[in-house]
């Protein structure tokens, strides 16, 4: 039996707005085990990003609890239990790529030597070796996003939360980064939470797919993937892949048909 690193119990989050309450999340129950790659997929407004932000303690639930590494979400954040990758790379233009990756290490008080070692190490992981002295504007969008992933990997967090990290990139770059991410997952054995609105991306990457539907934001189905863990892009033409993809698609269609 694997240990659960993220668990949500009867989680609800309601935003009070001028137009009345918005039920962003309702009765979410979820367990993520160590080393899983979990995708959250659903139409916009289904609360997938909100759920990730609740896990990261960037939003506070109105009901229910989230446990991360057996701690409350806010404790886990204080303990720096996770790295978070946002939709935009968000690199500081006045810092080099190396300097950007060092930033969380500086904040967390790693010593200079260790910082340097880790920068080299994570740049290698995202295949950006030799770019540490470059400034963000000298890199393409895809490379910037890889640098931001490197930044999230630089410190010792065994959870990686990613909010549509490749949403703004074109499909070719995206395919390439997806392959890289899988390799990275295999080498680092991190637990990954990944928000996306692309069915092929979710199926290609995940060991578990959480399908969500809107109004109120809720989990409509959790699909476990039985695809082998060492995948290449070719797997997308296999029958198993297409089966899972059509399961996800059916579920998404069901979710949107009750409107």
């Amino acid at each position: 039996m694997n240990e659960s690193v993220i668990s949500a119990n009867n989680l609800s989050l309601t935003f009070e707005t001028n137009d009345g309450p918005v039920h962003a999340l309702q009765d979410i129950n979820l367990d993520i085990e160590k080393g899983e790659f979990v995708s959250f997929i659903g139409p916009s407004g289904c609360g997938k990003t909100t759920l990730l932000r609740v896990i990261a303690d960037l939003e506070t639930p109105t009901k229910g609890v989230v446990k991360v590494n057996d701690m409350s979400a806010s404790q886990a954040r204080m303990e720096r239990a996770y790295g978070y990758v946002f939709q935009a790379a968000g690199l500081y233009p006045w810092r080099t790529i190396g300097g950007n990756i060092k930033l969380p290490l500086e904040i967390m008080g790693y010593d200079k030597l260790e910082q340097k070692e880790r920068v080299t190490q994570v740049l290698e992981l995202v295949e950006l070796s030799g770019f540490d002295k470059k400034f963000p504007w000298q890199l393409s969008g895809g490379m910037q996003q890889r640098a931001s992933i490197a930044r999230a990997l630089a410190f010792d967090a065994d959870i990686l939360l990613m909010d549509e990290p490749f949403g703004a990139l074109d499909e070719i770059v995206r395919d390439h980064l997806n392959e890289q991410l899988l390799k990275l997952w295999a080498t680092t054995k991190k637990t990954i939470g990944f928000v996306t609105h692309s069915i092929p991306e979710a199926v290609f990457l995940s060991s578990k797919i959480v399908v969500m539907s809107p109004r109120p934001g809720r989990i409509s189905k959790i699909i476990n993937s039985n695809l082998p863990s060492d995948r290449t892009l070719e797997i997308r033409d296999s029958k198993e892949f297409l089966d899972i993809a059509s399961q996800v698609r059916d579920e998404l269609r069901k979710g949107s048909s009750d409107e």
């Binding site: 960037l58 946002f86 233009p93 810092r95 904040i107 967390m108």
Partner: protein, 294 residues
């Protein structure tokens, strides 16, 4: 050949504008001073031709609008030909104004940054201080300057400091406004990111907010330094026209010395432009060092 063309592309427009301004200036001088030229001729009972009138408008002692070459001659006479220690040297007067400007600018920048940091970090300061900052600028500086001079004089402070304080009064405002905007320029995502690293507020100030505010700070400093100069000049008016460019302006207007007024004005303009240019150079160096593309 290309180099000459590049140089012309750079200098040409500036030169053209300068030429147009000079032409308008000369034309205005002729137009404004002609009344006096005709008046003189009428009293001497002679009639003058157009060209005689034009040449008279260029050499009047107290013209309504001095011609450019008269002003340039006056500036040359009072800078190059006078010792800098002389009370008639524009360089001496300029230095007095400049020292008050720089001191006031330093005070104003410091005060502006301190207030901005307070406003960004404390909600109550945002609500209580900001309205006063804005109110302070709605009072005409000409009304408040003499009072500052008189009050400080009563407690025994005179000379440079009162002028610097008036200068500060004008220059802190753009710095507050620019820095508040600059320190608030990081977006929600960048602040969230700091949160995910559970960074303390001071860390996100030094590593995120302050560097983000730099382009805003320099824009404010450019306005601030020009305002400082205005403050220093205004501060020199109520002191009884002793020293400084402001004193030259006032003395000139007492005695109708329009050429003196204009040469002091031009000097003030050159000083202001140089100060803004210096800030511009520091801005370029700093932002380039920070790797920010301008």
């Amino acid at each position: 050949m290309n180099k000459i063309r590049d140089f012309w592309n750079l200098v040409g427009p500036v030169f053209t504008i300068l030429l147009i301004i000079t032409a308008i200036w000369y034309a205005s001088a002729v137009w404004l001073n002609s009344a006096w030229a005709y008046d003189k001729a009428k009293r001497a009972n002679v009639s003058i031709s157009f060209s005689e009138m034009v040449s008279d408008t260029m050499i009047q002692e107290k013209p309504l609008l001095p011609s450019p070459h008269q002003v340039i001659k006056e500036i040359y006479k009072t800078t190059v030909l006078k010792k800098v220690t002389s009370k008639r040297s524009l360089i001496w007067h300029g230095w007095i104004t400049l020292s008050a400007t720089l001191l006031g600018f330093a005070f104003g920048t410091a005060l502006g940054i301190i207030l901005a940091v307070g406003i960004v970090f404390s909600k109550s300061m945002d609500m209580s201080v900001m309205p006063w900052v804005i109110t302070s600028q709605t009072i005409p500086i000409l009304a408040i300057a003499p009072m500052i001079i008189v009050v400080l004089n009563a407690v025994g402070v005179s000379g440079l400091l009162p002028k610097a304080i008036i200068s500060m009064y004008l220059s802190f405002f753009p710095v507050v406004v620019g820095m508040v905007k600059g320190l608030r320029s990081p977006d929600q995502m960048q602040l969230d990111q700091m949160r995910t690293w559970s960074a303390p507020k001071t860390t996100s100030f030094w590593k995120l907010r302050l560097p983000s505010s730099m382009p805003y700070l320099f824009a404010s400093l450019k306005i601030g330094v020009a305002a400082s100069l205005v403050g220093a000049i205004v501060g020199e008016l109520p002191t009884g026209a002793v020293a400084g460019l402001g004193a030259r302006l006032l003395a000139g207007s007492y005695y109708g010395q329009t050429i003196q007024i204009w040469s002091a004005l031009i000097c003030a303009a050159i000083l202001a432009a140089s100060l803004v240019a210096v800030i511009g150079v520091i801005e370029r160096i700093t932002l380039r060092k920070m790797g920010i593309q301008i």
